[in-house]
């Protein structure tokens, strides 16, 4: 077995002396899809932001493809070239068209020619059913369309790892499925993904591995089927029971 793509060891993160992550260990293999579940405030988003170096870690290490990215002197821009991230609130650039949103990083960061970048962007838009939206501005799109564009924007840089931070939480229920569809397609292509999500049905369906976080601790991890049908930890059981009661599973 080769080395995991992403290794997180003993990760601590505190905000103003309040611990958000307390010694999290997590490995993600290439082509693996890992879902992080847990209540709001359990540390799912913070974990993703740490991996993308949007947050400084307070202890522990993150290793990507064999290189420690939390080591002092690491250039975060170089790390982020290999990692795509999609946010809950899409964060598209409102002053740019869909096409410009997608080609900005390939042209400016990866130094591709504008023509190549646009060709690739149109190809992705076409594949995900947004071919007619290339010239639109984000404000004119539905939430589901904006989030699909955001995913395409992250994919246009050909990242080796994609982080998705509650990407369906801001969407109307009927728009959730179109965003899930695109993620499912990425899984089929072998994309390595870590998702923080509240959609338990989706997690069960798409995840190879499910991790349950509670108060900054990774309490339980296992294959999706086992976590949902036979959770070992009492707190995992309690969390899933409550989710079930609220009709979200």
């Amino acid at each position: 077995m080769s080395r995991p793509l992403l290794e997180i060891e003993g990760l601590w993160k505190t905000y103003h002396a309040h611990p958000v992550l307390r010694g999290v260990d997590l490995n993600v293999d290439a082509h693996e899809v890992v879902c992080l579940i847990g209540a709001s405030g359990s540390g799912k988003s913070t974990l993703l932001r740490c991996v993308n170096l949007l947050e400084d870690v307070d202890d522990g290490a993150i290793v990507l493809g064999g290189d420690e990215i939390t080591a002092p002197g690491t250039d975060p821009d170089e790390v982020r070239k290999k990692i795509g991230m999609v946010f809950q609130s899409y964060n598209l650039f409102p002053h740019m068209s869909v096409l410009d949103n997608i080609t900005l990083a390939p042209v400016r960061v990866h130094k591709r020619s504008r023509r190549d970048a646009q060709e690739r962007a149109r190809e992705l838009l076409d594949r995900f059913g947004l071919a007619d939206k290339a010239g639109e501005y984000p404000d004119r799109l539905s939430g589901g369309q904006q989030q699909r564009v955001a995913i395409i924007r992250a994919m246009a840089c050909d990242p080796s790892l994609l982080l998705l931070d509650e990407v369906t939480s801001a969407l109307d229920p009927e728009l959730v499925t179109e965003v899930m569809g695109i993620i499912r397609e990425l899984k089929e292509q072998g994309m390595t993904m870590v998702l923080a999500t509240h959609e338990m049905g989706f997690a069960r369906d798409i995840a190879d591995t499910v991790c349950f976080l509670s108060d900054g601790v990774l309490l339980e991890r296992g294959p999706a089927e086992q976590i949902f049908s036979d959770p070992q930890e009492p707190r995992t059981r309690e969390f899933l029971r409550r989710v079930l009661a609220s009709g979200r599973l």
Partner: protein, 286 residues
């Protein structure tokens, strides 16, 4: 079942509603017109019949004085316009550079950042007219080689220093108003700090601060008159000369009219931009 849109015939209820709207609109229009005419008439009668009016008319609204002073005041006003047109782009560049300098995070640039903070603190704190005196009379007193001696240039320099600090603060407020998630999204794509600023934050910030910037420039147009204290023959100075000849204040009024003629279109344009920005924000609900 509702009928398709192309076969829609307005209902009797809707037609009655529209008739009522039209009647109300007509009524509102006539009330506004009548009340305006009445108010103007009352004010006119009161002013024109007051005992002091002939003197006011003679001193401030003297047509003969107005036509006599206007050509000189107008030619002086051209200097105000020139000062304004040259100072404005310089102020924009200076303000933007200072605002960017204040945002530099690298420890290497600590002195630059401090300098930018000191500049805005100092020049925003000094009354503009005091700055005009300091630069206009103080700099030439140094007798340094290569310094400009033209009072209009020195006055313009004082205005640039003063307004540059205001405009820097406007730019900084605009940059700060862009939500951190925009920067996070840009950085997550691998853009460097500078690239995120240039391609994502600044374009949005600049669009947002156009109305307050235009407001500052309306103010700058008026303040070009402060250069008068240094002696160049701009509009206020020309009016002063005419007024000193005759002890009549109509030439000042002529200068005032010219300034208003310049600032009012600017103010309307600013309003127009603000309304347009508001309309753009409204439907999407950002």
């Amino acid at each position: 079942m509702t009928a398709p849109a192309d076969t829609w015939v307005k209902s009797e209820r809707q037609l009655a509603r529209e008739r009522a709207h039209r009647r109300a609109g007509l009524r509102h229009g006539s009330i506004a017109a009548a009340s305006t005419i009445l108010c103007v008439a009352v004010v006119a009668v009161v002013v024109l019949s007051s005992p002091g009016w002939p003197r006011v008319h003679e001193t401030f609204f003297n047509w003969g004085q107005f036509t006599e002073a206007l050509p000189d005041v107008l030619s002086g006003f051209w200097l105000n316009v020139k000062i304004f047109l040259i100072a404005e782009p310089v102020i924009l560049v200076l303000g933007l550079l200072v605002a960017l300098a204040r945002g530099l995070r690298s420890p290497l640039f600590f002195p630059v950042r401090m300098l930018a903070v000191a500049y805005t603190d100092v020049f925003r704190g000094i009354p503009t007219i005091l700055l005009v005196y300091l630069v206009g009379f103080g700099l030439p007193a140094l007798k340094l080689q290569g310094l400009p001696s033209d009072p209009a240039v020195l006055g313009g320099l004082a205005l640039v220093l003063s307004y540059g600090s205001y405009v820097a603060e406007v730019f900084r407020a605009g940059i700060d108003s862009i939500h951190p998630s925009q920067r996070a999204a840009a950085r997550s794509l691998g853009l460097s700090q500078a690239q995120a600023l240039r391609f994502v934050v600044l374009p949005q910030a600049v669009r947002r601060v156009v109305p307050p910037l235009l407001n500052d420039f309306a103010s700058l147009q008026k303040d070009t008159a402060l250069v008068a204290v240094l002696g160049p023959l701009e509009a206020l100075r020309q009016a002063q000369i005419h007024s000193a000849d005759t002890f009549n204040y109509t030439p000042y009024l002529a200068a005032a009219v010219l300034f208003i003629a310049l600032t009012v279109p600017m103010a309307r344009f600013t309003d127009h931009l603000a309304v347009r920005a508001e309309r753009r924000r409204a439907p999407g609900g950002k």
